[in-house]
C-alpha cells in the first residue's frame, strides 16, 4: 500500500501540470466549518489535503496556523474528535488525506494505536515536523505496519546526504519547504528556489510537494514543471478569517 499515494499523484499529474494540496486546522473555526471547508476544497478541485490535529505548542507554525491551533483547542477539540472527523471526511470525499501534527499527539496516543486508528480512519499518511527520522523508529515501525505514509520534509538547509536519508525513510511524497522559517510568511520565488528544487529532485524519486508561502495563482504557476504539488497552507485560513468559509471554493478555483 505504500505506493498507493505515489501512484495516485503520478496518475493525477498526467492530467494536471501541478496538483494542489491544502491544509486546514481541524476544529477551526469549528468542526462543522472544517467539514464545510473540506467539501468546498474538494469541489473546487483540490487533489490532496493535510488535516492538522491541533497542538498547544505548534513550534514550526507561524502566527496564522498557531492561532488556529489555539482557537481550536479553546473550543475543546480533542484528538478523538479529529479521528472522527477523519473517518467521515475520508468516507465522503475521494481525495487522499494526510494528518499533520506534532510528535506529542502521537506519543501520548501511543505510536501503534495512532497509526492503527489512522489507517482505520482512511488517512493515508502523516507529516510530523518535530519528529526527525533519528527520533522516529517507533513511529516508522508503526506507520509501516499500518501501511501509512510517513511524510518527511526537505528544507533549503538540508544537505544532499541528508536528503537521501530522508528520502529513504519517507514515502508517499516529499514535502519541500520553499524557504526557511515558519508557515505563513512571504516567500520569494526565485532562482535559489529552482536550484534547491533541482537538488530535491535529484535526491528522491518521491513526488515533490512545495509549501511555505504559496498563496496565489502566480506562485502556483511558478511551481509548474518544478514540483508535483503546490501546498496552500496559511493562505486558506486567512481567506476564511477575512472572507468567510464560502470564499474558499472560489479562491481554490482561481489558483489553477
Amino acid at each position: 500500500m505504500t505506493i498507493v499515494l505515489e501512484a495516485y499523484i503520478r496518475e493525477k499529474r498526467e492530467k494536471k501540470d501541478i496538483l494542489l494540496m491544502t491544509h486546514i486546522v481541524l476544529g477551526y473555526p469549528s468542526m462543522e466549518a472544517s467539514m464545510e471547508i473540506v467539501a468546498q476544497m474538494v469541489a473546487a478541485g483540490v487533489d490532496l489535503m493535510e488535516l492538522q490535529i491541533p497542538f498547544s505548542e505548534p513550534m514550526a507554525d507561524g502566527p496564522v496556523i498557531l492561532k488556529a491551533n489555539q482557537k481550536a483547542l479553546e473550543a475543546g477539540v480533542r484528538v478523538a474528535d479529529c479521528f472522527k472527523f477523519a473517518k467521515e471526511a475520508t468516507k465522503r470525499f475521494e481525495i487522499p488525506f494526510l494528518f499533520m501534527t506534532y510528535t506529542n499527539i502521537l506519543f501520548k496516543y501511543g505510536m501503534e494505536a495512532f497509526a492503527g486508528d489512522m489507517a482505520r480512519a482512511g488517512i493515508k499518511g502523516a507529516i510530523v515536523p518535530d519528529l526527525p527520522p533519528e527520533e522516529g523508529d517507533a513511529y516508522l515501525n508503526a506507520m509501516a505496519e499500518q501501511g501509512c505514509h510517513p511524510v518527511y520534509i526537505f528544507s533549503p538547509t538540508t544537505t544532499d546526504e541528508r536528503m537521501e536519508l530522508l528520502s529513504g525513510k519517507g514515502s508517499g511524497l516529499m514535502y519541500c519547504m520553499a524557504r526557511k522559517g515558519v508557515t505563513g510568511k512571504e516567500t520569494t520565488f526565485s532562482h535559489d528556489l529552482d536550484t534547491y528544487l533541482d537538488r530535491c529532485k535529484k535526491a528522491t524519486d518521491l513526488p515533490l510537494a512545495v509549501g511555505f508561502g504559496v498563496k496565489d495563482k502566480e506562485d502556483v504557476a511558478y511551481l509548474k514543471g518544478k514540483a508535483d504539488i503546490a501546498v496552500i497552507g496559511s493562505q486558506t485560513i486567512r481567506i476564511v478569517n477575512e472572507q468567510g468559509i464560502d470564499a474558499v471554493g472560489p479562491f481554490i478555483r482561481n489558483l489553477q
Binding site: K108, R162, V182
Partner: protein
C-alpha cells in the same frame, strides 16, 4: 545528527528539519569546547573578571540557630553579575557563539533574568539581541524588560498560548528557524533539544564545582543535602552535578507548588503524578499535560519556575531515585523569603526562595553536626513588584499610585 543526548528515556532532539544542520554545527562546536582544555579556563577567567566567581558560600548562622538542625550554607549565585546563575550559562554560550562566528543571539525569558543576562552578554560581545518573553511575564517583570531594552536588546512580548515561558520558547524557535545562519538561540535552562540540556548543565556545573570545594574547605566534609529550586532545572543541575557522585549527599530539587498541589494550580512535574512523559519544545521529559498531550496552564508566584517541562536529566535522576523532588507553595515561599531577609539580610529571588522553603521544612530534623547547602540561584530585588504585591504592602501601592499620578499630569 548523531548523538541525541538521551538520559534513560528522556531527552533527544525533536527538531524541525530546517534546524538539523544548525544543531549538527552546534553539537560539533560544543564537543569542540568540551574537549579543549583551554576553553574551561577561558570561561572561568571571564566569569571571575566580568562576574564575581567564585561566588561565596555563606554560612547562615541565624537561620541555623533558628531551626536548630544541620548547619545551613547558602551558595550565593545571587551575587553574579545580573543577579542570578543565568549569567553562567549565558556567558558560556556567548563564548561559543563567538567561536561559531554568529552575530545575533535570541533567547526566551520567563522571570526576565535570563533575558537580562542574555542582553548583557550580547552587549559585551557585540551581538544583536532579541528576547522573547510571554506577555504575562513582561507585565510582572517590567523592570527587567526596561534593562534589557536599555542594553540594546529588542524585547518581543509573546501574545500566543498561555503567554508565559513555554510560549516564549516556541517563539524563539520560530525566529531561529528563520535566521539560523546568523543567529544562535541561547536557551536559558537545561531543557530543549540536545545538546542544550547537556550544554547548559556543563556551564552551570561551575556552581557545583565551587560549592564542593568550598564546603570541604569550610566544614571538612560533604553536605548531607543540597537544595535547589527547579524551573527548567539549570541551577539544580549546576549545583547537583558537584555532588551526584557522592553517595552520602542527597540532592533535593524543589518545585513550585503554586496555590497548592491539590488545586492543580502549580508547576510541579516531578514530585506529583500530575505530569506525564511527553515530547514538546524539542525534547522528551515529564510535562504537565492532558491526556491528549496538550500542555496545561501552570502557576507559580515565581515566573522562572512557571514552566510545563523540566530538564530531561532531572527526569532521569528522578526515575532512578538519584535525586529527590519536593515542592513549596507560594505561601511557604513568601514565608521563607521573609525569614531569610530578617535573619540573614539576604534577599533570595522568588525562584530561589523555593529552595529555602524546601530546606526549612527538613533542616530541623538533621543533626547539628551535619550541614546542608541551599543554592540561592538569584537575588530578589528584581521581584519587587511581585514581592510587594505578595506582601500586600500599602506604602508601595501608595508610591505607585503617586508615581502614576505624576505621569498622568
Amino acid at each position: 545528527m548523531d548523538k541525541r543526548g538521551y538520559y534513560g528515556e528522556f531527552g533527544g532532539a525533536f527538531i524541525p528539519e530546517i534546524l538539523s544542520a544548525t544543531f549538527d554545527d552546534l553539537v560539533a562546536h560544543f564537543n569542540g569546547i568540551k574537549n579543549d582544555p583551554l576553553f574551561w579556563d577561558s570561561y572561568v577567567d571571564l566569569m571571575s573578571t566580568y562576574s564575581c566567581r567564585a561566588t561565596p558560600l555563606t554560612y547562615a548562622e541565624n537561620l541555623t540557630n533558628h531551626f536548630g538542625g544541620a548547619k545551613i550554607y547558602i551558595k550565593r549565585e545571587d551575587l553574579n553579575h545580573t543577579g542570578a546563575h543565568k549569567a553562567n550559562n549565558v556567558m558560556g554560550q556567548g563564548l561559543l557563539v563567538k567561536k561559531m562566528g554568529k552575530t545575533r543571539v535570541i533567547a526566551e525569558t520567563g522571570a526576565g533574568q535570563h533575558g537580562v543576562a542574555t542582553a548583557t552578554m550580547a552587549a559585551k560581545f557585540g551581538f544583536d539581541c532579541t528576547i522573547y518573553m510571554g506577555e504575562v511575564d513582561v507585565k510582572r517583570q517590567r523592570p527587567n524588560v526596561f534593562w534589557m531594552e536599555q542594553m540594546g536588546a529588542t524585547v518581543i512580548p509573546v501574545t500566543d498560548g498561555t503567554r508565559i515561558l513555554k510560549d516564549a520558547i516556541n517563539e524563539a524557535f520560530r525566529d531561529w528557524v528563520t535566521n539560523m545562519e546568523t543567529t544562535h538561540y541561547v536557551l536559558g535552562t537545561a531543557c530543549g533539544p540536545h545538546p542544550f540540556p547537556e550544554m547548559v548543565s556543563y556551564f552551570q556545573s561551575i556552581i557545583g564545582k565551587e560549592a564542593r570545594k568550598q564546603i570541604l574547605e569550610r566544614e571538612g566534609k560533604l553536605p548531607a543535602r543540597v537544595y535547589a529550586c527547579v524551573g527548567g532545572g539549570s541551577n539544580a543541575m549546576g549545583i547537583f552535578s558537584g555532588f551526584l557522585p557522592d553517595a552520602g549527599v542527597t540532592c533535593v530539587g524543589v518545585e513550585a507548588a503554586g496555590r497548592g498541589l491539590a488545586t492543580g494550580e502549580h508547576a510541579s512535574r516531578l514530585c506529583t503524578d500530575d505530569a506525564s512523559v511527553g515530547v514538546a519544545q524539542g525534547y522528551k521529559t515529564f510535562f504537565l499535560q492532558d491526556d491528549d498531550g496538550q500542555m496545561k496552564e501552570t502557576h507559580s508566584i515565581a515566573a522562572g519556575l512557571d514552566y510545563v517541562g523540566v530538564s530531561p536529566i532531572l527526569s532521569q535522576l528522578h526515575v532512578e531515585k538519584k535525586a529527590r523532588f519536593e515542592s513549596a507553595t507560594d505561601e511557604e515561599v513568601i514565608a521563607a523569603l521573609k525569614l531569610t531577609m530578617q535573619k540573614e539580610g539576604i534577599i533570595p529571588a522568588l525562584e530561589s526562595a523555593h529552595a529555602f522553603a524546601g530546606a526549612f521544612k527538613e533542616v530541623g530534623n538533621l543533626p547539628p553536626d551535619q550541614c546542608i547547602i541551599i543554592n540561592q540561584s538569584g537575588r530578589g530585588d528584581k521581584d519587587i513588584f511581585t514581592v510587594a504585591d505578595a506582601f500586600d504592602d500599602p506604602q508601595w501601592k501608595a508610591f505607585i499610585k503617586e508615581k502614576a499620578g505624576d505621569y498622568r499630569a
